[in-house]
Symmetry: C2
Subunit: 231 residues, 2 copies
DNA sequence: TCAAAAGTGTTTTACCTACACCCATGA
DNA sequence: TCATGGGTGTAGGTAAAACACTTTTGA
């Protein structure tokens, strides 16, 4: 039985590609839709922008309402404006992305009832998605893959304390290729944005690795310099 | 005397930052608006997206209607969605940019009457602009400055045949700094994307420079490789 | 004592930077 | 012949890439 779908005029929406790292696996946040069209389909967290909110604010609000995650800073990466991307009317969507540290804030609970649930799903295992969300996801993935190769943004995904091997694994997952261990470590340590801790990994049945922290201040300084240095 | 301005609901618009090089000067396309709000102000070529066209098509159409330039391929670079950026209602605008070869197609003539004229204006000499167009222009300029430092896109601005000095001047204008002549030449020639012609500059009162052409095929090959090569 | 991952250096190559003088041409 | 921009090479430093073995630890 078909549901009647009202037509509407132009609206803007936001869709979010939120990355997280769980046990070395790169995941993104998906919701199960609780509304037509595509009711009960998997989709990126996304909804319509209100008249009186900027798109940046809308992104934050929408992510909160659909997943319960609060105050997540996101960047926009592309705007999708094909005519028939939404079956009910003209919807142009601005896609945002963010990278999250999963440790702790794993509780996902939609606040609105537009979503029946929100879950982390491995990027290797994305199901069929509503609308053109697969395209949006792919582009978002390309975005972070590209960005990580000139800016050490991987820390945003890692727990506060991490080993160099964890860091390297993350790079390998995102870039989808093997990296040389010695060269990787040399390069990372050379950046000078890692603080070596007097602590080691625990609970492993092999030689425990040193733990490191990301040094925000040095990162900011380095990044500043690279920006103004140009080419 | 105040004009009555109707309020409207959400609409999308497109704004274009079109770069051109004229006698070594970097310019952008501006129109003089022939409509409220901001009637008689300078503005970026921009207008409202129709219900039945994709934003990419809208960009091409709008640029044509406002400037008479046909079939210009543009890329989007940012979407501006602050609440009050348009005095009459909620307008979210997707900004596009392009780099044009000016030789030949300098005839600018608005086709619609939303613009009373369209002109090339030096980026060093941009007047006060309507809406938040100054912000959009600045961001567009940053975009090409950033892009040129990892991709040799400067050719799009130059005439078909050009000298190395012209190419260097263009880089200097966009990057806003002096470059070393020998290093610049070495680097450019090393890319292997320049075809040396058996021709020289004419009509200059000093030693005539060799002319070069941009080799599209080699560029595509190189660019391909860099994309898949990653880091 | 074994398995599993941590940790470590050197060489080669490519690229970037700095730097100054002679050459060709038209006026 | 002079003014103007065209054209050229080398040396030093830095960063990336290739490459394999020893060490530590818990089970």
């Amino acid at each position: 039985m078909e549901t009647f779908l009202p037509k509407f005029d132009s609206v803007f929406s936001i869709d979010c590609v939120i990355f997280g790292l769980d046990e070395g696996e790169l995941k993104i946040l998906l919701i199960e839709r609780n509304e037509e069209p595509f009711k009960n389909w998997w989709a990126l967290p996304g909804y319509i922008v209100e008249q009186d909110e900027s798109i940046d604010n809308a992104a934050e609000r929408i992510l909160y309402e659909l997943t319960g995650l609060r105050g997540i800073y996101m960047d926009q990466f592309y705007t999708f404006g094909d005519v028939n991307r939404h079956p009910q009317g003209r919807v142009i969507t601005v896609a945002y992305y963010a990278m999250l540290r999963l440790s702790g804030n794993k509780e996902l609970k939609p606040v609105s009832n537009y979503a029946s649930k929100a879950v982390w799903i491995s990027v290797k295992d994305i199901p069929k998605l509503a609308f053109d969300h697969e395209k949006i996801f792919i582009r978002g993935f390309e975005k972070i893959r590209n960005k990580i190769s000139y800016q050490p943004i991987a820390f945003e995904l890692l727990p506060e304390k991490f080993t160099l091997t964890q860091l390297q694994n993350l790079y390998e997952v995102i870039l989808n290729k093997k990296l040389d261990k010695r060269n990787f470590r040399k390069k990372m340590l050379n950046y000078g944005i890692l603080k070596e801790l007097n602590e080691k990994q625990k609970g492993v049945s092999y030689r425990a690795a040193k733990l490191y922290k990301f040094d925000k201040r040095k990162y900011a300084k380095l990044f500043q310099k690279e920006l103004t240095f140009g080419k």
